[in-house]
Amino acid sequence: MFRVFRADLRSLADEDLMALIHDGEPRALEVIFDRHGDRAYSLAYRMCGQRTVAEDIVQEAFLSLWRSGTRYDAAKGSVRSWVLTAVRNRAIDAFRRESVTASRDVADEEATARLAADERTESEVERREDARRIRAALGELPDEQRKVIELAYFGGFSHSEIAGMLDLPPGTVKGRMRLGLTKMRVALGDPPRVTQ
């Protein structure tokens, strides 16, 4: 038996909460959900285009975090990245079960509440600005590069599957992915490293 760490959980950093989650504290997972649930759901919905499926994906992702016996390693990325990776993986699993098809612009007639344009909390203003910059950077890519990135990231397709879909050599698909991400690095203020 062990005692729960009783300090205000909402004042803890994500990394500290992950340690508590590993030790079986559900309230810590609740805080992680509150912080990253919107992004997780947004990604899941973007990938599958169906509200109920997106909800299932998010639930499975958070359950997988809860069940995981692996202690979170900050060196491998932020907690947000870990959550979103779990969401992506669950979405791709759903695609492969053929219960869901990857969807980019399927309209869901059920109400999906977007972040209100007048949201003024600091984090949400920052999030909107980040989203604007990322969309701009992706939008500025040549179509051929943007398409392969979107198919891989949001569609869960491998480079060989994309090559088959677009009737391209596999090497070409990987090359376009590399060029596209390199251009996005520059656009977002991180100049590419010269490797030759």
């Binding site: 947004s42 639930q59 958070f62 977007r114 969309r135 891989a152």
Partner: protein, 229 residues
């Protein structure tokens, strides 16, 4: 999978996008473990890939999803408790025998204790004990109430990277007994930890930094010593 410098990094973008086949991804991970070029590429591309989720329209989680998720999580308490029980424990460290002897403990306490004082609250049912903090800043108190103990920290440093604080109960003539209480502190150095177990006969409550997952016996000298009796 080519490992020549000329081709190194060619698969990094596909890897971070999840665009390699499973066997290819596994081969790339093995290659990357010895290739600084690919490590750098993955790190740089990974920072971009980590932002791609923002391309998606940003939505609010639907009403009820939070309750549903947490309901499912709370329905699985055994998985978490089993994981806690299976936490890897470290065996006796080489210098531990010296530490575990009564003589060694007395030596450690003599060098460390700076006068623990017991403060009595207004009521007779609770007791606040000022603990000694050794080798760092901050304060620590043990609140005793109704046979239960609570360790309260303020301004206390986080444990070293990869370590966690562990709470021990020390009875005369016996080595420190692990409580399985592992904790860290907030970024502001605050902590509030319940101390489980029967406190009868316990002379000190101790805290040591231990490897992640805790230890069967202390591997470091205490950083907190609370003298209960």
């Amino acid at each position: 999978m080519s490992t020549s410098d000329r081709d190194c990094g060619a698969d990094a973008a596909a890897y971070v996008l999840g665009g390699l086949e499973p066997a290819e991804a596994e081969a790339f991970r093995r290659h990357m473990s010895t290739c600084a070029i690919c490590q750098d590429e993955v790190s740089a591309f990974g920072q971009v890939a980590d932002t791609l989720h923002l391309v998606a329209p940003q939505l609010r989680t639907p009403r009820g999803l939070r309750r549903r998720v947490m309901g499912a999580v709370r329905a699985e308490p055994r998985a978490a408790a089993a994981r806690a029980g299976a936490r890897p424990l470290v065996g006796l460290a080489p210098g531990l025998r010296r530490w575990a002897t009564a003589g060694g403990l007395a030596l450690a306490l003599a060098a460390a204790v700076v006068g623990a004082t017991a403060l009595f609250s207004g009521g007779s049912s609770s007791k606040l004990i000022q603990a000694s903090v050794i080798g760092s800043s901050g304060t620590a108190e043990v609140r005793l109430s109704g046979g239960r103990a609570e360790l309260i920290l303020k301004g206390f440093p986080r444990p070293p990277a990869g370590d966690v604080y562990e709470v021990w109960l020390k009875r005369p003539g016996a080595p420190p007994s692990p409580t399985r209480v592992l904790f860290s502190v907030t970024s502001g150095g605050a902590g509030d930890v319940g101390v489980p177990g029967d406190l009868r006969g316990v002379r000190q409550v101790l805290v040591t930094p231990e490897p992640d997952g805790g230890s069967l016996a202390p591997t470091h000298t205490p950083v907190i010593v609370a003298q209960l009796r």
